[in-house]
């Protein structure tokens, strides 16, 4: 691993050459309106969506007020209200030059918008326009007003497509940051819900918001996250994956140390556990940290369904994790090295299927797994319309035809398909991809050394997992180090009235989740024999 680090790590951090007007050193706004407008036109260019509007009585002589905005980023209804107010203001007054402050304040009073800011510098003005504000410029005034009437085309809140539940809220995050934060706010109505915002990306200026609940999250984790976010210096952040790769603990590990979700309820639940969330503008996927290994096998639905079925499902998920990881390699190892481990009848059945198959078991398994991966990738990339075609081809080609043609044994098809199905049970797509990769490694090990090979592959993985940390939290908590109180939300989920504390090691100072002794007591319960007596 060491040599990989040396390859992947750049020797020295070279500062990027700054050509971006927004991040350059601020210069004050010129008081002359035509001068400012020319400047804006020079910087933002002939973009068809960039609008500069001057309220002028005559075409030759420019008026004292101008507004600038980008068409697609603002709400048209609010804009017309704003313009109405401005035109009325311009008509009522002839000169604005008398006093700067009174002019701006008077104008501010008239504008029918809640969020309005005074801007002093040129680069701030440009940033405000690009962020979806309407910038109001007044001739002879050295400041500008930025009215936030963001709007335009955005996707509605829909059901999340990657993390579906049967019982639970059906809303998912959208690409719009403010919508996402609103969705979270609606779930956590507490003043302790805190946000720390930052723009990252020299060109994209992507808003990245760190969310946490003060008192529940560990202050060190918040500090660490802020530090890591601040150290990112890149030209673009287009998705949470960019941020994830910049801030994760073990960049070369196949295991994810940040969880992503597009469910507001998952984020709210995680914040209440003491985790922090990182919202990124432009993507519905929110990052959660610190996470432990077991978190990738929990679904938000576990907390909504009855605790007994949730616990059962969690155990099923871990079982299918092991199947997805180990089944092909175990099959290879046992059928080529340890045949004595099979019951006689099973051995004969398998042997009769392998009669006449041309490839060794290892090659057969590798081929089938690769074919499956190809079909799966095709299914994702393909246009939706021809989706059924791929399932027919896949089912026929690797399901039946390969066996009938005698290329692979029927048992191998069962092994591969059960492995694939088990892989889909893992709720986190991140972890499922990790399993897919490690599976191939273990298959090769099994093909070379049998069960010893599997063990020789699993032991280093286990070492790695034990050593892995996510924002200072051990990855295998509460298993190693063993934390008894965290066991209530591990393999099993205890009923809510028993969920007394937040997870140890993840949550901050406030550990108590609820009042004790909440076992449901039914005071309305009646003995059966009482009722006839009452009727008398």
């Amino acid at each position: 691993m060491h040599w990989m680090k040396t390859i992947l790590k750049p020797a020295k951090r070279r500062p990027l050459k700054n050509t971006n007007p927004i991040t350059q050193t601020p210069e004050p706004i010129n008081s002359s309106l035509p001068h400012t407008l020319t400047l804006l036109h020079k910087i933002l260019g002939d973009s068809p969506d960039f609008i500069m509007r001057n309220f002028s009585d005559s075409p030759s002589e420019p008026g004292p007020i101008a507004i600038c905005y980008i068409e697609g980023l603002i709400e048209q209804n609010l804009l017309s209200d704003l313009m109405e107010a401005l035109i009325a203001e311009q008509a009522s007054k002839t000169s604005f030059t008398s006093d700067v402050h009174s002019t701006i304040n008077a104008l501010k009073q008239k504008i029918p918008t809640g969020n309005i800011k005074i801007i002093h510098a040129e680069n701030q003005m440009i940033a405000a326009i690009l962020a979806g504000n309407v910038v109001i410029l007044v001739d002879g005034v050295q400041v500008a007003l930025a009215a936030s009437i963001q709007g335009g085309i955005r996707r509605a809140v829909e059901e999340p497509t990657t993390q579906t539940v049967i019982r639970g809220p059906k809303e998912g995050f959208t690409e719009e940051l403010s919508t996402n934060i609103t969705l979270l706010r609606r779930k956590l109505r507490t003043p302790d819900l805190k946000f720390a915002s930052r723009n990252i990306g020299r060109y994209t200026q992507t808003r990245v918001v760190l969310a946490y609940i003060e008192g529940l999250a560990q202050p060190e984790v918040i500090e660490e996250a802020k530090k890591r976010l601040e150290s990112i210096d890149t030209d673009s952040i287009l998705e949470s994956g960019y941020i994830e790769e910049f801030i994760q603990d073990a960049p070369l590990s196949p295991f994810p140390t940040l969880l992503n979700t597009e469910r507001p309820d998952t984020v709210a639940g995680s914040l209440l556990d003491g985790q922090i969330a990182i919202f990124i503008d432009g993507t519905p996927f929110v990052l959660l940290a610190p996470v432990t290994f077991i978190k990738f096998f929990h679904s938000s639905e576990d907390y909504y369904q009855r605790y007994d079925i949730s616990s059962f499902l969690r155990i099923i998920r871990l079982f299918s994790f092991l199947i997805a990881l180990l089944l092909p390699s175990l099959y290879i190892a046992i059928t080529t090295f340890h045949q004595e481990m099979l019951p006689t009848t099973l051995l004969i059945t398998l042997a009769s299927q392998r009669e006449g198959t041309p490839f060794p078991a290892l090659l057969e398994a590798l081929i089938m797994e690769l074919i499956f991966e190809v079909i799966r990738e095709a299914g994702v990339r393909m246009p939706r319309v021809i989706g059924p075609a791929i399932s027919i081809v896949g089912a026929l080609v690797i399901g039946q035809a390969a066996v009938q043609a005698g290329l692979v044994s029927a048992a191998m098809v069962i092994v591969v398909s059960f492995t694939a199905i088990s892989n889909f049970v893992i709720p986190s797509f991140n972890m499922a991809s990790t399993v897919r990769l490690i599976r191939f490694f273990l298959m090769l090990m099994a093909g070379m050394l049998g069960l010893f090979g599997i063990l020789a592959g699993l032991i280093p993985i286990l070492f790695h997992l034990v050593a892995l940390q996510s924002f200072g939290v051990r990855y295998l908590t509460p298993f190693a180090p063993f934390t008894k109180s965290n066991m209530k939300d591990f393999f099993i989920r205890v009923p809510w009235w028993a969920m007394k504390t937040r997870p140890n090691g993840i949550s901050g100072p406030n550990k108590t989740r609820q009042a004790p002794h909440q076992y449901p007591v039914n005071s309305a319960k009646k003995e059966r024999c009482d009722e006839p007596n009452k009727q008398k």
Binding site: F337, T344, A351, S352, M448
Partner: protein, 411 residues
């Protein structure tokens, strides 16, 4: 940096060069389901019954019931000076690696059993590929001849033989099955004797059993059958016991799990015998040697429980008295069965019951002095049998049907 490259290259190439060394694919295995041993020291013939997997496959290829056209096993033999010699030259005539881990039965030929089986047991204990849990049988002829027979309707004769042994253990308990390690334990113990079930071919025209055409017929003229219990005394076969004698030994060694026995109704008024049957569901036998003033006596305590499965008696089993009478009769029958076995033991002076080990453990001083005269001592021993039988269920019917008809005609 360079060193790291070298180390990782060595690791990767090293693991690749292992080259799946001991790997063996399933279709390269000759899965042996039964092994036969014939001959004697210095000249062994080993017979292998190897499964033909393609004959076992279900109707995948489209030809339904392909099994009947092709025999599911192939039997062949090799000769060598020792057993391993013989096995090693099997590759001269067999393309697959013989695989003994799934061996179901070991059949010892008549001649080999009489000549001594020390080398067979040594082979099983020394080599990891042969399992000591394999069941042992003795053939009434050459093992090779026996392994050539099919046992319809089972496809694999080796498996069928071990299933027959298992079923006898569970339902009849006439010839308790024995595995290699049990056999070795018994032969090397103080008693030095063991009983191994004997299998024989009964009926005529045994060649028909050698072809898979037998599966097309509804009956066969010949068939394989457990027919006796071979007595080994220090690795050599000395005698074959019949079913009655063997059952007595089963009782004395606490091997009876279930059995159906018939008893006579003593109070029958008619001259004809009125036989009823009792099925043993649980049986517990405790055998303890007790030191007497002159010689040892054997205390045998038997507790059986079961149900009435056939009744020809005139008594009504719903009445406690009658049930008690029946129980007494059952006890008597069991006592007779045990005595039959005991008589054989004393006559042969071979300690099939394993009393020697019990005495050795209980009276070590005595054993040290008298170990040489043990066989004579055995023949002088007395036996006290105490049987407690209980009929737990009389069945769904009360009086026997015959007595029901009789009472009808009396009216």
């Amino acid at each position: 940096m360079r060193r790291l490259w070298v180390i990782s290259a060595v690791l990767i190439i090293g693991s690749l060069l292992t080259g799946c060394g001991s790997r063996i694919e399933l279709n390269e295995l000759g899965i042996t389901t039964a092994t036969g041993i014939d001959g004697h020291k210095g000249e062994w013939t080993v017979t292998y019954q190897v499964i033909v997997p393609s004959a076992m496959s279900s109707s995948l290829g489209g030809s339904a019931g392909g099994g009947s056209s092709q025999a599911a096993v192939h039997t062949f033999s090799t000769q060598g000076k020792t057993i391993r010699d013989a096995i090693d030259i099997s590759n001269l005539e067999n393309p697959r690696k013989l695989y003994f881990a799934h061996n179901n039965v070991l059949v010892i030929g008549k001649e080999a059993a009489e000549a001594g089986i020390e080398e067979v047991i040594d082979n099983y204990f020394r080599n990891p590929d042969a399992r000591e849990t394999v069941k042992v049988l003795v053939a009434d002829r050459k093992a090779r001849e026996l392994l050539m027979q099919l046992i319809p309707p089972e496809k694999i004769p080796g498996q069928a033989l071990s299933k027959i042994l298992q079923k006898d253990d569970q339902t009849g308990s006439f010839y308790p099955s024995i595995s290699i390690y049990e056999l070795a334990l018994k032969l090397s113990s103080d008693s030095g004797a063991a009983g191994v079930p004997e299998v024989s071919i009964v009926g005529s025209d045994r060649e028909t059993l050698e072809s898979s055409d037998i599966f097309k017929k509804t009956s066969s003229k010949a068939n394989l059958k457990l027919s006796g219990l071979c007595i080994f005394d220090r690795a050599r076969k000395v005698k074959t016991l019949n079913q009655k004698e063997s059952l007595g030994i089963s009782w004395l060694t606490n091997h009876v799990k279930s059995n159906t026995l018939s008893f006579e109704d003593e109070n029958a008024k008619n001259a004809e015998k009125a036989l009823s049957s009792f099925r043993i569901n649980t049986a517990k036998v405790k055998v303890t040697p007790v030191k007497g003033p002159l010689h040892f006596s054997l205390e045998v305590k038997v507790k059986v429980a079961g149900e009435l499965v056939i009744s020809n008696s005139e008594e009504d089993p719903a009445k406690t008295n009658n049930i008690k009478k029946m129980q007494q009769q059952v006890e008597k029958v069991i006592e007779q069965q045990i005595e039959e076995g005991w008589k054989t033991v004393q006559k042969l002076q071979i300690d099939l019951v394993g009393i020697a080990d019990k005495i050795h453990r209980k009276y070590p001083e005595y054993w040290k002095e008298n170990r040489d005269t043990w066989p004579e001592e055995l023949s002088r021993m007395d036996i006290n049998i105490d049987v407690q039988a209980s009929i737990k269920r009389p069945g769904l019917f009360q009086k026997s049907f015959s007595s029901l008809l009789k009472s009808k005609s009396d009216q």
